[in-house]
Structures are given as structure tokens and as C-alpha cells.
């Protein structure tokens, strides 16, 4: 319960953290850490502009995305088992993430804008390739521990696994990290800051959303980032110190380290050309497969 609340509260912080890292590398001071919170508060007070082309799908998209991502939080272990866990909860989590993609893409297509169509097209292409990577990465962990629930994956392993199967875990960690970059639309797959529509994926899909709907989208995408970082933290660095608070703190620390790493990648690498993105995402599947061969041989 606490980890879920923490997620709801802290998710927008990650974007601020990444921006600070990037600013540091660029020699700037950067935006305040809490900027996204202020942005959200401001957007919530604003009115919306709705295109005459749109249908209820336009608003239903962000609404469904937000609802599914908040529900996902209930399935995420962090420093302790999640609020809800049952065999196969990882499949429900991935199913909900697919629903998020479908809803966002349809909301983008609803405007009839060619730019948003382009972003939507790229989003589904990348998503379709990311899906097997995600499942295969989880498959590796399932083979290792023989449990099929996220919380049990967290509970049944310790950091000592890095001694016996460090290579496998490293491969999975890299795979998951690549997927995190792709799914939360960061460099080198997508650039959250660019203002040239042709090079964007996620930002271009939400061009027409404004006011509270945009707030829902921004919040939802920070939740998505949070979910990705927590998955890496809880599945690959499961701390079991004996004290629930310490576990939680350690888990959170890893989440922030992962975020810093994202900022580091963003600061030091260039965006890939769109034609190379499938390879980038495919690479994560390849890494997971390699790890899978190592564990089931």
C-alpha cells in the first residue's frame, strides 16, 4: 500500500531528476526538481481545446491509460510484496500496458492529424517489438525461480543471486533497461524535448491534448517510467535486509539510480535514426533470449 502511494507521489519526480542530470552535463542549472508537479497543477486548472474532429475516444484514451497505470502500481512489489499478487500477475501488468498503448494510439488517431498518425504508427511498431522482449526477460526470471508472480519473484530471490548467476542477471538488466528507454520514450529511441514533430513519437501523439487531459497524459507517462524503473529495482535488486523500511529505502534508491542512468544515457548519446530503432528494441529481445539459453541449457 505504501509503495503504491509512494509511486503515485514520487513518479513525477523522476522526470525532474532526469532533467537535472541532463542540465548538469550541459553545464546548466536546469529546471526545478518539482517542475512537473507545478506543470500538472497548472494544467489541471486550465480549460481544454477540443478539435471538432474528435470523438469521446479522444478523452477516453488518456483516462483509460491513467486508470490502467494506476492499477499496474497495485501489482508492483517495491521493498515488499505488492498490494495484490497472484500467479500470472505479470501477464496482467503487461496486458494493461498494452491497453495503455492501444488507448493512447487511438486517442492520437482521433484527431485526424497526420503528425499524430505518424507518431501513433511508430509507437505501435516499437511496442510490437518491445512486447516479446518484455516477456522473454520475465521468462528468464521465471525459469530461475520457478514462480510466476512479480511479488514472489521479489520475495524468492536475494542479492546473492548476483554471485551465482550474475551474467544472466546483467543481461536481463540491460534488456530491461533498453526496454525502459524505448517504452518511456527517452533518447535514443525518442526525444521528449524536441519540438520537431517529425522526430518525435510520444510527444507528437499528444499534440492536440490540452488542459486536464494533457495533465492526465503527462502523469500517466511519468507513472509508466516509474513502473519500468521499479521493475528493474525489484526484480533484479531484491533487497532483503529484514527491515521492511530498509528494503523500501534500498528499493527506492535503486529506482533513483536507474533514473540517473537514464539521464546519463540521455546526456551522452544521440537519438537513433528511426530506421535503427527496431534494431535497438530487437536487441533487448536478443539479450533476453541469450540469457534464457544460459538458464535453461
Amino acid at each position: 500500500m505504501i509503495s503504491m502511494l509512494l509511486g503515485l507521489l514520487l513518479a513525477p519526480l523522476l522526470a525532474g531528476l532526469i532533467n537535472r542530470v541532463k542540465a548538469f552535463f550541459a553545464g546548466r542549472r536546469g529546471r526545478p526538481l518539482l517542475q512537473l508537479y507545478w506543470d500538472l497543477a497548472r494544467l489541471l486548472r486550465k480549460n481544454m481545446v477540443l478539435s471538432r474532429t474528435t470523438t469521446p475516444v479522444f478523452l477516453l484514451g488518456p483516462a483509460l491509460s491513467l486508470a490502467s497505470l494506476v492499477t499496474c502500481l497495485a501489482l508492483l512489489p517495491l521493498g515488499g510484496p505488492a498490494l495484490l499478487f497472484f500467479p500470472g500477475d505479470m501477464l496482467v501488468l503487461l496486458g494493461l500496458l498494452a491497453l495503455v498503448r492501444f488507448a493512447t494510439v487511438l486517442a492520437a488517431m482521433d484527431t485526424g492529424s497526420s503528425f499524430e498518425g505518424m507518431g501513433a504508427s511508430r509507437e505501435v511498431a516499437i511496442g510490437a517489438l518491445a512486447e516479446p522482449g518484455m516477456f522473454l526477460a520475465l521468462a528468464v526470471l521465471v525459469v530461475q525461480t520457478r514462480v510466476v508472480s512479480l511479488s514472489e519473484l521479489w520475495a524468492h530471490r536475494g542479492l546473492d543471486l548476483w554471485n551465482s548467476a550474475g551474467l544472466v542477471l546483467a543481461l536481463v538488466a540491460v534488456a530491461l533497461f533498453l526496454l525502459l528507454l524505448a517504452e518511456s520514450c527517452r533518447i535514443p529511441v525518442d526525444d521528449p524535448n524536441t519540438h520537431l514533430e517529425l522526430t518525435m513519437i510520444h510527444e507528437v501523439m499528444v499534440l492536440d491534448h490540452s488542459g486536464p487531459a494533457l495533465a492526465a497524459i503527462e502523469y500517466a507517462s511519468s507513472l509508466k517510467m516509474w513502473i519500468g524503473a521499479v521493475l528493474i529495482s525489484s526484480l533484479l535488486f531484491p533487497f532483503h535486509t529484514g527491515s521492511a523500511w530498509l528494503d523500501l529505502l534500498a528499493g527506492l534508491a535503486v529506482v533513483f539510480l536507474v533514473t540517473l542512468a537514464v539521464g546519463l544515457v540521455e546526456s551522452t548519446s544521440a537519438r537513433l535514426s528511426m530506421l535503427r530503432v527496431p534494431q535497438f528494441v530487437g536487441l533487448s529481445s536478443a539479450l533476453s533470449l541469450l540469457a534464457l539459453f544460459l538458464v535453461i541449457r
Binding site: T53, A63, L66, G127, M134
Partner: protein, 644 residues
């Protein structure tokens, strides 16, 4: 008692059809009403009986006297046949209701074929004798062929009919051999008893069944008839063909599996790989299609692939000694049979309504139809979410079971198969999301791209109601998942002793609850957002102030990144006049993707066959004397053969 009831429902179907056939010329309206009424009545009776059979697990058999050599009129109603009877009758009833509105008085005599098609499919499910089975199977193929070519004034419909007829008969040829091989004695073609075939014979039967029934089910590479025949048929028939008749292939295959003493390991592998190839290629072909019904037909290949994948994982669990994996895989495959029947017939009906309203099935000509046809559009959206395997709809439930089967194999007896199934199914469902995002986005959202789409209005109620009912069913199965899987117990018991879905019931409960919660919260949040103050505006298109509908992203561009990526299986044909120079003239660009299997496999084969036949044709002169000579030569040859 139950069996008699089922036969009654068959009789009602046949009588209704015959009556429609007789009355079609003189009072067509009464004929249609009679046929549709018979369909609904038969569906009502049959559904109750099938569900009772499923819930009680009862099995009834009767042998009626029949004076046909080799044949006995052996009929059996057991949970497995009842399981397949449910979608048959439910979809036939709704399709009849829809078809009445769709045909709008045209072709009243076609109802004879429709009713006979449904009746013969129920006959296939009930027969426990090879000859009877083949007769019903043929009747089903022929009647559905006659329905496919209903609009035979169009050349492509005639071509589609031809392809369908050839494909289905090639499949039937294998089935004849199958029944000859497995029949317990020389005098009879009766089905062998369950669990009696020794491994070698069972393996042979499995291969024959896989080819014969796989042709009907549309497994790659025997899928080529599917994207031809289904778009050609009128939509209520496509709905039934795609939603139900394909499944008769799955039924046949499962029936063969029940005969074996013990299914071998390689059966599972063969099914897993077949399913994987069909699933991935099906959805990739679908991505490249521009005709809505063709696209849906390709998705049938994909979904039948998912079914095969599930069944294959289940068989691997069964042979590897993991009853839970067996239950999950077989159960997931079976449940997907039902689910696919609901959402695929819904989608075909939606496509038909759309074609009627806009005058075209071309995806690129549509657009903005959700505003103009909210009922059809809403139902189609639900169907799309369901077929893409998204929570909280029914497609997610069956894919969840198949995924769980893969995970179960992964952690127990067959890690490699589990990994293959998991990765493959993930790719398939990811691509399916992409494909249906394309369909929904381009067809129903945005602005209309053609005058036809501009003027479209909501479809008539007779067609809308069946769609809404099916959409409700898609949602209901998703929300009541833990209850629904209760119907799987009895047929699972026939396929795998000791298979029990109990362990996942709690998971399904959570899945349904979370899915429902997301849907409710999403709807509430969406409603709250729509209540916020807003002002109407124009879609922002980079400052360009006069956007036209033609500036929208097209379906071909939308699918572009993915079709490009899979260009090694998609032989893209492109022609036209490219844009050249600094001040280009009018340019054009056409592209289409022919089926590679048609192009590289079947066309050469049939060309060779044609050449051979032309040569053989020299024997056919049309002169009676020569024919008599042939007969005499044959006789003498036989005599010599006997004499030796």
C-alpha cells in the same frame, strides 16, 4: 434425451431451410422469416442442450439403422462436441438475424443453403462414424461454397469460390484416408474408441488430420483460400465461416487426439510451430491488407494459430507429465475457440455494416465513421480490443491461459517450448494491437476520406442488435472469466485426464476484477474530463490553417514501419509514376501485397498441374468409340493382372 433435443434442432434447421427454398419464388418475405425463425428456434433449443451437456459432462450415443455400405448412423453428443456446438448455434442465430437485414430481401433462396450449412456443421459435431462425418463435412463445404458465390456476378467472387472449392476438397481427400486408416474393422468406418489407437497409427492419424483439418482451419501454408473466400461471401456468411466453420477443423483435430492412447511429444511441437508460423504470418499479412474483410480473414489465420499454439503447449504438458500445463494450454486453446467466434463474427458483421453504409470496404476510403455510426463503431472498437487481447475483454482471458501454459512449461517440463510459445505469442499480440490500432484509427476516427464515408449513416437495427449482443458477450466473458472457465472442465476431461483449471481460478478472478476496475475508472475519468470546460477548435496541424481529410495518415503509411520490417515475408509490389524533378507532374503510387505462398508455392504447383492435365487431355476426344476402347483396354489389363 439431450441428443434427441439436438437432433430436433437440426430438424428444425433443415425444415426451415427447405420451406424457405420452396417459398422463395412466390412469397420471399415469408420464406426469409421462416428460415430466420427456424434458425433462432434451433439455436435456442440447441444452446440449452449444449450448455446442459457441458455442465453435466454427460455423453450420449445412439446408433440408428442405416442401409449404406460401410456406414452406420452413429450419433454422439459429448462435452467436446457440445463445446463446439455452442458457438455454432449462437453465431448462426445472430448471423441469421443480421443476415436478414444485410440481404434486405435479396436472394431469399440462399437461406436454404444457410440453414443446411448450419445443420450440416451440427451434423459434423454429432457424427460418430467416418462416413456420416464425411457426408456432413461435404454438405457443409458445398453449402458454404454456394453461399460464398452468392454474388457471383463479380469475377473475383467466382475466383474465390473456385479456390475455396479446390482447397476444401484437397483437405477432404486427406480426411478420407484418415478414416480408412483409423477404422477399427474392414466392414465399417466407425470412429475408434477413445484412447485406443497405438502410437504409430495415432501418429499417422495425427498427420493426416493435421493436413486435412488444418486446411479447413486455415493453418499456414494451407491458409490461402481464407483471404479469398471470406471477403467474397456476404457478411453474415463471412461471420459464420470465420467465426465457426474454421473451428470445425480444430474440432476434428481434437477428436483425433482423443483417439490416441497417449499423445506423443512431437504432436505438441508440431502444433506449437504450426501455430507460431500461422499466428505471426497471419497478423503480418493482415497488416499489409487494405480491404477490411480481407484483413479480418488474415486475422482468422492468426487467431487459429493462437488456438493451435495453445493446444500444442497443452499437448506438450500432457506428454511431459504436467497436468496443470496441459489444462492451461488445452483450456486456453479451447476458450479461444469460443472467444474468436464472438469477436470475429462481430468484426465481420461490423465490416458488412460499414460496407453497406459507405459503399466500399477499402480501409483507405473510410474515416470518421465513429461519429456517423456510433453503434457499429462502438461495437467494432470493443471487438478490436478483444481480438487484440486487451483486458478486460474476452481475448485477454484466453491469451492469459495460453501465456500461463507457456510459463508453466517454462518452469517445469519443457522450458524451450515455453520460451518459444511465450515469445511468439507476445510478438503476435503486439502485432495484433498494431493492426487493430490501424483499422480503428483509420476507419472509425479522424475525418472521412471519401464521399461515401462522408454520407454514411448508422446501420439498420436488425444488423446493429446482433453486433451489440456480441460486443456485450465479449465484455461479459472477460468480466466473468472465473465462472466461464467452468464450461471447460468437461471437454478438458475428455482430452487430458486429471487436467484441472482450479489453480488459476483465483488469478482469473483478480484479472477480471482489475480489468473491470480499469474500465470503470477509465470511463468515469473520461466522463469527468469531458465535463471540464472546453472550447471547440481545429486539429493543430503545424500551423497549416486549412487541413483536408486527405492529409491524414493513411493505413498503408501507418502499417509502413512494420510491413517494412517484415518485408522478407511480404513481397511488396509497387508500381506507378514516382515524383520526379523539382516541379513534379501528377504522380501516382500503387502498392499491393500478394500472398507469398500463393505466388511461390501454389501457383507453380497449379501451373505444373495444368500443363500435365493439358497433356493428358489428349486422351479425351469426345469420340465414343475411343472411350469404349479405353474401357476394353482397362478390362484386358485387369484380366492380365488377375491372371498373373
Amino acid at each position: 434425451m439431450l441428443l434427441a433435443g439436438m437432433l430436433l434442432s437440426v430438424a428444425i434447421l433443415v425444415l426451415g431451410g427447405l420451406a424457405a427454398g420452396v417459398l422463395a419464388r412466390n412469397c420471399p418475405e415469408r420464406a426469409v422469416a421462416l428460415a430466420v425463425g427456424a434458425n433462432l428456434l434451433a439455436a435456442g433449443i440447441g444452446l440449452v442442450i449444449a450448455l446442459l451437456t457441458l455442465l453435466t459432462g454427460a455423453s450420449q450415443m445412439t446408433v440408428l439403422p442405416w442401409s449404406v455400405p460401410l456406414g452406420t448412423l452413429a450419433l454422439r453428443l459429448d462435452p467436446l462436441s457440445a463445446f463446439f456446438a455452442v458457438p455454432t448455434l449462437l453465431v448462426s442465430g445472430l448471423a441469421a438475424l443480421y443476415g436478414r437485414g444485410y440481404l434486405a430481401g435479396k436472394g431469399p433462396s440462399s437461406w436454404l443453403w444457410f440453414n443446411l450449412m448450419v445443420a450440416s456443421l451440427v451434423g459434423v459435431l454429432l457424427s460418430a462414424d467416418g462416413l456420416l462425418f464425411l457426408l456432413c463435412w461435404e454438405a457443409m463445404s458445398v453449402t458454404s461454397f454456394l453461399l460464398v458465390i452468392l454474388e457471383d456476378e463479380r469475377a473475383e467472387v467466382r475466383h474465390a469460390g473456385q479456390v475455396y472449392l479446390v482447397a476444401t476438397h484437397l483437405g477432404t481427400a486427406f480426411l478420407m484416408v484418415l478414416f480408412l486408416v483409423v477404422s477399427p474393422g474392414a466392414e465399417t468406418l466407425a470412429f475408434p474408441r477413445a484412447g485406443t489407437l497405438p502410437p504409430t497409427l495415432a501418429g499417422l492419424a495425427f498427420v493426416l488430420g493435421l493436413v486435412g483439418f488444418g486446411t479447413k482451419a486455415g493453418f499456414v501454408p494451407a491458409h490461402v483460400w481464407l483471404p479469398e473466400a471470406h471477403p467474397a461471401a456476404p457478411s453474415h456468411v463471412s461471420a459464420f465461416l470465420s467465426g465457426v466453420i474454421l473451428k470445425s477443423g480444430i474440432y476434428g483435430l481434437l477428436r483425433v487426439v482423443t483417439w490416441a492412447q497417449q499423445p506423443s511429444d512431437w504432436w505438441g511441437w508440431v502444433l506449437v510451430l504450426t501455430g507460431l508460423v500461422s499466428g505471426i504470418l497471419g497478423v503480418v499479412f493482415a497488416l499489409a491488407q487494405h480491404d477490411l474483410k480481407r484483413l479480418l480473414a488474415c486475422h482468422s489465420v492468426e487467431n487459429l494459430g493462437i488456438i493451435a499454439l495453445g493446444l500444442g503447449l497443452g499437448l506438450l504438458g500432457l506428454s511431459g507429465g504436467s497436468p496443470l500445463a496441459a489444462a492451461l494450454g488445452l483450456g486456453g486453446g479451447l476458450l479461444h475457440v469460443w472467444n474468436h467466434a464472438w469477436f470475429k463474427s462481430l468484426l465481420f458483421m461490423g465490416a458488412g455494416a460499414l460496407g453497406k453504409a459507405t459503399g466500399s470496404l477499402q480501409i483507405e476510403a473510410a474515416g470518421g465513421l465513429l461519429r456517423r455510426m456510433p453503434g457499429t463503431g462502438g461495437a467494432f472498437l470493443v471487438g478490436s480490443a478483444a481480438i487484440s487481447g486487451l483486458p478486460p475483454f474476452n481475448g485477454f482471458v484466453s491469451e492469459f491461459l495460453v501465456f500461463m501454459a507457456a510459463l508453466e512449461l517454462l518452469r517445469s517440463v519443457h522450458p524451450l517450448a515455453g520460451a518459444v510459445g511465450l515469445g511468439g505469442l507476445a510478438l503476435i499480440s503486439g502485432l495484433a494491437v498494431a493492426c487493430f490500432a490501424k483499422v480503428c484509427g483509420v476507419v472509425f476516427l479522424g475525418e472521412p476520406r471519401s464521399p461515401g464515408a462522408e454520407k454514411a449513416t448508422e446501420t439498420r437495427r436488425a444488423m446493429l442488435v446482433p453486433m451489440l449482443l456480441l460486443a456485450a458477450l465479449c465484455l461479459l466473458v472477460g468480466l466473468a472469466a472465473p465462472l466461464v472457465i467452468g464450461v471447460l472442465d468437461a471437454p478438458l476431461g475428455q482430452l487430458a485426464a486429471g487436467a484441472d483449471l482450479g489453480p488459476v481460478r483465483a488469478s482469473l478472478g483478480w484479472l477480471a476484477a482489475l480489468g473491470g476496475l480499469v474500465l470503470l475508472a477509465g470511463l468515469a475519468l473520461g466522463h469527468a474530463l469531458s465535463r471540464r470546460p472546453s472550447q471547440p477548435g481545429m486539429t493543430w496541424d503545424c500551423g497549416y490553417s486549412r487541413p483536408t481529410a486527405r492529409m491524414q495518415y493513411t493505413a498503408a503509411s501507418f502499417a509502413g514501419p512494420l510491413t517494412e520490417m517484415f518485408s522478407f515475408v511480404l513481397p511488396f509490389r509497387r508500381h506507378g509514376k514516382p515524383v520526379e524533378g523539382f516541379f513534379p507532374d501528377a504522380a501516382e503510387d500503387h502498392g499491393e501485397v500478394p500472398d507469398p505462398f500463393n505466388q511461390r508455392l501454389y501457383e507453380p504447383i497449379f501451373r505444373g498441374l495444368m500443363r500435365f492435365s493439358l497433356r493428358v487431355r489428349a486422351f479425351q476426344h469426345g469420340e465414343v468409340q475411343l472411350y469404349l476402347l479405353y474401357i476394353v483396354i482397362a478390362l484386358i489389363a485387369l484380366f492380365i493382372w488377375e491372371a498373373l
